[in-house]
């Protein structure tokens, strides 16, 4: 996995709560058997005026001029500023894959849906929870100043604005450790293979019905 330590990037404010994973990447694009290539279809139904189809050249499709990512000032944005309960709905990891493929490295919101939040960490994408009033402030600043950038530091767990104002954020130690070091967490878990095996052996004795197969 790609490591994440520090990132400075242009902010795109998406002023809408409860953005669900169907909205982030609609189902017709889930038919791919790859992890890459979802970027052109990120927010497909909001971004384009026509109906998106797999294997289509999205560069020729009519854009929705009202959608935030279609505004020239947000071109190249890598920090997505969002509202509460971002990523609700399905467990599709295609949602963080699409955000990543588009070029986002950080999503900041007052709250995230649990599965989406978890999936981000597996892909080097950092979801950051900030208090609602601070998110409000960032929205105001990002909308007011063209070229507004934020600096995110996972080592110090801070988000810093261009004026030097800094907001601290919390992140689980284990997730932070994996992200900072770009660790493959399957490899980390397999370091405990002996303990998994002995748990399993014990359970085979105490709960043998868990190890049965169909008649």
């Amino acid at each position: 996995m790609r490591a994440f330590t520090q990132h400075k990037g242009l902010v795109a404010p998406m002023d809408r709560s409860n953005v669900d994973t169907d909205m982030i990447i609609p189902k017709q694009f889930l038919k791919s058997i790859k992890r890459t290539g979802f970027g052109p279809n990120l927010f497909d139904e909001l971004r384009y005026l026509d109906e998106g189809k797999p294997d289509q050249d999205s560069s020729k499709r009519p854009l929705n001029p009202d959608f935030v990512l279609n505004q020239p000032r947000y071109e190249g944005a890598s920090v997505l500023l969002a509202r509460s309960n971002f990523g609700c709905g399905s467990s599709r990891e295609h949602a963080p894959w699409a955000l990543d493929d588009y070029g986002f490295r950080v999503v900041i919101a007052p709250s995230f849906a649990d599965i989406f939040y978890n999936n981000c960490f597996k892909n080097g994408l950092l979801p950051i929870v900030l208090e609602e009033k601070n998110v409000d402030k960032l929205f105001q600043e990002a909308e007011a100043a063209e070229g507004y950038q934020l600096t995110v530091d996972l080592v110090g767990k801070t988000v810093t604005t261009p004026s030097g104002e800094s907001f601290g954020f919390d992140v689980d130690d284990f997730r932070r450790h994996c992200l900072l070091n770009g660790l493959d967490d399957i490899g980390v878990t397999l370091e405990d293979a002996g303990q998994i095996k002995s748990y399993e052996d014990q359970r085979r004795k105490t709960a043998p019905w868990l190890f049965g197969s169909a008649e």
Binding site: N85, S91, E93, D172, A193, L210, E215
Partner: protein, 472 residues
């Protein structure tokens, strides 16, 4: 010391290792696999040269992409070449790694969350995961079950464990008896309407109270299925006689002495009377009416006797904007009566409501009636080949067909429209599925979530109607 909740017990029994940093390794008893969220996980295993940890813990079936017609054609019946590749990839991966798969022509094929319980592959007290958020369904059996992403599917394949942090405990208690025509679906929609789509974030929800205890396993599965729509990855119901009766005699269920030992353990799978929950929500079951969603989020629900809300009356500016946006997308007017919403299509199916009891309820309503003239389509999609066979043995298929509904082959179908079954732009659908997000059932489609009985009532009238008026 306070007693343990059901969630505490399941967590403790599956804890392999508690790490100093607060994370824990949790053992997974069962993984269900389907074609959409598994290909990249198998590919990851291959790239890292890893093997599955425990092959017999996995059970697979294609469900999201499968057509609901011409099943006898098998894979050749999948017209969309991209969908077909995904199903073929699942077949190849399961063959390569030796994982049991109910393939497209197998009568046991169906929606993963229907076939797990049907086969007894879902047993009380298990930890169950699947790359699908509606895995919470299996919590109806007193399981710790939740959806995971594809990286975690790979993690479970490789290690039989997940790295987890313990969630908080939440109790949703539904007191009293449910009224006539009020089902598990109405209960869970009412719960989501009350606590919101983020109400359960960070929590494992246990559903309890008299109304839940009186529900069948099908009703409990419907409720746990939609815990995720309230933001909770996990929904659970305590084990009781209803659970154990359901499990007995299924292909994966234990027998003889092992069965007796299992039942003894399963009987302990309930929250202790002195257990403490971080959050408790209570609802009066008698006050719950048949529900209809009017908006683009499962929390946007109303009683069948109610009206579409008026955004002018909403004080919170973000919520007001949300209501305005939803009404625009749905093509509805503020204060419009729910019963005035006209429908184009009706869909009875999905992992929420495609089990035999759901089909019986719907058939009970349409029996002797006809699909309304204005409707473009009304379809019934059973949750599995075995549900289909059972329904046909009971003559339900004939009731549906005589009433003018289409009787289809099993799969996820129009719940998320990954196969050929979808809504046209602007069409209103009474749907027994779980999500009314924009575009969920087709580009520009308008979904209204309801129970099977309410969907059936809508099918024969062409608009929403209080199903209690049609019941004898």
């Amino acid at each position: 010391m306070a007693g343990k909740t059901l969630y505490d017990k399941l967590w403790d029994d599956h804890l392999v290792k508690q790490r100093d940093d607060g994370s824990a390794l949790i053992y997974i008893d069962r993984q269900l696999l389907h074609e959409v969220t598994s290909p990249q996980a198998f590919e990851g295993l291959r790239l890292a040269n890893r093997k599955p940890w425990r092959i017999d813990a996995n059970l697979a079936t294609p469900d999201h992409n499968v057509p609901t017609t011409d099943r006898d054609k098998g894979i050749d019946g999948i017209v969309d070449p991209v969908s077909r590749i995904q199903v073929e990839t699942l077949d190849k991966n399961c063959d390569e790694f030796g994982i049991l798969e109910f393939k497209i022509k197998d009568q046991r094929q169906g929606i993963v969350h229907v076939i797990g319980p049907e086969q007894g592959a879902t047993l009380p007290g298990m930890t169950i995961v699947c790359g699908d958020s509606h895995t919470s369904t299996h919590g109806a059996f007193g399981c710790l079950a939740h959806g995971i992403g594809t990286s975690e599917v790979e993690h479970v394949l490789a290690t039989q464990c997940l790295v987890q942090k313990k969630m908080k405990n939440m109790l949703v208690k539904v007191n009293g008896q449910l009224g006539k025509g009020v089902t598990g679906k109405d209960v869970v929609l009412a719960v989501i309407g009350k606590i919101g789509t983020a109400g359960g974030n960070g929590h494992a929800i246990e559903f309890g109270g008299e109304a839940i205890q009186n529900l069948s396993m099908e009703g409990r599965m419907t409720i746990c299925n939609m815990a995720i729509e309230a933001g909770a990855r996990v929904g659970m119901v305590a084990v009781d006689g209803t659970t154990i009766d359901y499990v007995k005699g299924r292909p994966f269920s234990p027998e003889g002495e092992t069965w007796d030992a299992a039942v003894k353990y399963w009987r302990t799978l309930h929250s202790d009377t002195d257990a403490v929950f971080d959050k408790v929500v209570e609802l009066d079951g008698e006050a719950i009416l048949p529900q209809v969603s009017w908006g683009t989020s499962p929390e946007m629900v109303a009683d069948i006797t109610g009206n579409v809300p008026d955004p002018e009356k909403e004080q919170d500016p973000i919520k007001r904007e949300g209501i305005e946006r939803a009404l625009k997308y749905m093509g509805l007017q503020p204060n419009q009566a729910i019963t005035d919403i006209k429908l184009d299509r009706v869909f009875i199916g999905s992992c929420t409501n495609s089990r035999i009891e759901d089909l019986r309820e719907a058939a009970g309503v349409v029996k002797g009636r006809k699909v309304a003239a204005g409707l473009k389509q009304a379809m019934v999609v059973p949750g599995s080949g075995l549900v289909k066979a059972q329904a046909e043995a009971e003559g339900l298929d004939k009731i549906f067909i005589e009433a003018g509904l289409e009787w289809r082959d099993p799969g996820c179908s129009m719940c998320l429209a990954m196969n050929a079954d979808k809504l046209g732009q602007g069409e209103h659908c009474a749907s027994t599925s779980n999500r009314n997000f924009e575009g969920r059932q087709g580009f520009g489609g308008r979904t209204h979530l309801v129970s099977p009985a309410m969907a059936a009532a809508a099918a024969v009238t062409g608009h929403f109607v209080d199903v209690r008026e049609l019941l004898n």
